[in-house]
């Protein structure tokens, strides 16, 4: 479980760095959250966020940290799966396998 804590801490650090960088450059902007316009494609897709996080400025960095946070519970299920394999509890290897692959599929496919 130490791994999960470290992972969360790194995600938080990345988000913090991105936020400070954004505020340094755009701190005097007026935000627009009252009306919904949706995020640009570069901040919606998992693959673009991971591959080009350094090309979309501070917002791309924040989104990478948020993606790591979303991945944290999935990692938790994968770690449970590993421990079930160690226990040779095949019933729960299958159950946690279904949960983990559904989560991964939902995260990766919808944001393709």
């Amino acid at each position: 479980m130490k791994l999960l804590r470290t992972f969360t801490a790194i995600a938080a650090l990345i988000v913090l760095i991105g936020t400070l960088a954004f505020l340094y450059h755009h701190g005097d902007m007026i935000p627009h959250y009252k009306t919904f316009s949706g995020e640009p494609a570069s901040l919606r897709s998992c693959t673009i966020i991971i591959e080009q996080f350094n090309q979309h400025g501070s917002l791309g960095v924040i989104q990478l940290g948020l993606l790591m946070l979303i991945f944290n519970p999935i990692l938790r299920v994968i770690l449970s799966l590993v421990s079930f394999v160690h226990e040779r509890n095949w019933k729960y290897v299958i159950i946690s396998g279904i949960v983990a692959s559904t989560l991964l599929y939902s995260l990766l496919s919808s944001a393709g």
């Binding site: 935000p31 979303i70 944290n72 159950i95 949960v99 559904t102 919808s110």
Partner: protein, 292 residues
Amino acid sequence: MVPSEQVAILIMPMTEIPLTLLLFFASIIAGIFGALSGLGGGSILTPLLTLAFGVDLRYAIGTSLISVIATSSGSASAYLKEGYTNVKLAIFLALATTFGAIAGAMSATYFNKSILSIIFGAVLLQSAWMSLKPSAPKEEMNAPNKTAQWLELYGTCPTTEGVIQYRAQNVPTGFSLMFLAGWLSGLLGIGSGAIKVLAMDRAMKLPFKVSTTTSNFMIGITAAASAGIYLSRGYIDPILAAPVMLGVLTGSLIGAKLLPKVQNKILRSIFTVLVALIGIQMISKGLRGGGS
């Protein structure tokens, strides 16, 4: 109660720096209250964003999902160490919440903002009601049960009267309620911890401590199931989500530290009243048709 539109207008013309700081501190408070009450910070975060900050409900849902995962990540490892969380129970029931959450996120586009606001209010009222009705002692806690036996849904739990043994009852009912919890989580961007506790504590007759800690372990998994869908729809705004994630993480860590020192009963009743009031506010806003 202050008309929410007026408050929203007061706050909106701010620039990014004060708004980010305000969101950060508001999220710390939401995180502390969430951790202390056990109801989770997500339930009050969406109303806070929409009613006080005037944020569009869709951005609020995306932001709230992030806060739910942050709360669960911050506290789940602490609870696991105490030996209450039942991982098999969590993984088996996560099967229901995961598919429920995906179904909820997919169906969200078929509801307009007013209806979502009303459903949200109803869920808050259910949470308040759940925390008012104390968990009754359960006689059939360790009764033989074939389904629970086959799925290995049993365990031991340390209490003040020594270690007790428990075994899940009414597994199909609990599983169905978990699908509902997942559906609402995906639809509204909340953790729906109150319904998860309802399923485990009331339907499956599990010890209260096991129910609440296992629920906390599951909340992040449920939220992660729909987060990808909301991310791809552009509901997760980095500038809103960043201070909220950092604030809620900080708040839930402070809350977990404070937990042994504060009187839980008083705090719980304050939070219950607060949640009920916000629930009524969300319903009335939905009925008036202004579900922004």
